[in-house]
């Protein structure tokens, strides 16, 4: 398992401590900011699309600094799948709820008029923003990234069968 930089000359290639530490420090702030933007997507022009993107980017940043494989282990596949799945479920759930209340798809107004929830429109939109969009965007960004990265994983990092097939496809091309 000799590393690529492992000659007799130098040390094995290690992650730069500066980048690693900077990412460690920034990560909590960006994650908080992403969630803030998501939660305030309904009443500020930020929108939860950006919020979800920031959450996804935070994970990407960790992946760049710590290496893809450790991050993949840290963030289980099931977590990402449930993020996207949950997002879609919330989106559809809110939509169907308004239909159940006798309106059309995503007619938030009904939360106020029928159920009497104050600011129903706002909360409906909030739910869509948080669940529907941010979770999906974040999940998709992370999934796409890991899927792309898996295509370039060299042989020594192979762990799962899916990765292996993707690997072979890429390498047999050249």
């Amino acid at each position: 398992m000799g590393g690529r930089y492992g000659g007799e000359h130098g040390d094995t290639y290690t992650e730069s401590q500066v980048i690693l530490t900077a990412v460690k420090i920034i990560a909590p702030f960006t994650l908080t900011y992403g969630m803030f933007m998501t939660l305030h997507g309904a009443d500020t022009p930020g929108g939860s699309f950006q919020g979800g993107a920031i959450i996804g980017v935070t994970v990407l940043m960790l992946a760049f600094a710590f290496g893809i494989e450790p991050t993949r282990q840290w963030l289980k596949n099931s977590v990402i799948v449930s993020m996207v799945g949950g997002g879609v479920a919330i989106f559809i759930g809110v939509g169907l709820a308004t239909i159940a209340l006798g309106g059309s798809f995503l007619e938030y107004r009904l939360f106020f008029t029928v159920l009497g929830i104050p600011d129903g429109t706002k909360w409906g939109m909030e739910a869509i923003e948080v669940g529907g969009i941010a979770l999906i965007v974040a999940g998709v960004v992370i999934t796409l990234f890991f899927a792309t990265a898996a295509g370039f994983t060299p042989a020594r990092y192979r762990s799962t069968p899916e990765v292996e097939t993707a690997d072979d496809e890429v390498l047999s091309d050249d």
Partner: protein, 143 residues
């Protein structure tokens, strides 16, 4: 009086920001190699951006938006040098030699840097690495 001072401070900050960004641009255009350019790119530019952002924060006054500006300022101050370090490090890992000033015209583009594309080619056609990858992939291949 206070108003004049206030506007004056903003003008000075903004002017200094523009000045340092100008220096940074000049540096990136004039300096001989990637390491030297990284100096102005990361630092002078950071200061220029910082001063301009400070002017914005001052102009916005005490409100939510200026909090964002200050955050932006902090963020730029942490990330810019880190990014410059990452770039310089990657240049070093690729084996790009710093311009040593021994020969060549400092204002020319290349300096003593060997042809830019060369290290990449060398790396990818490096026999040991290539073999390792291909062997690994075919070894695990059932065919």
């Amino acid at each position: 009086m206070i108003d004049t001072l206030y506007v004056g401070a903003i003008v000075v900050l903004l002017a200094l920001g523009v000045f340092f960004t100008f220096v940074s641009a000049m540096g990136v255009l004039r300096l001989p190699d990637v390491y030297a350019r990284a100096h102005t790119a990361s630092q002078t530019d950071t200061l220029g951006a910082g001063l301009a952002l400070a002017a914005v924060a001052l102009a916005l006054g005490w409100q939510q938006a200026s909090v964002y500006t200050v955050l932006l300022l902090f963020f730029v101050f942490i990330t810019n040098p880190t990014a410059a370090h990452a770039i310089a490090r990657s240049a070093a890992e690729m084996g790009i030699e710093p311009w040593s000033g021994a020969d060549g015209d400092p204002s020319s583009d290349g300096g003593a840097v060997p042809d830019g594309g060369e290290p990449i080619d060398e790396r990818s056609s490096e026999p040991g690495h290539e073999r390792e990858t291909t062997e690994g992939s075919h070894g695990g291949d059932p065919r």
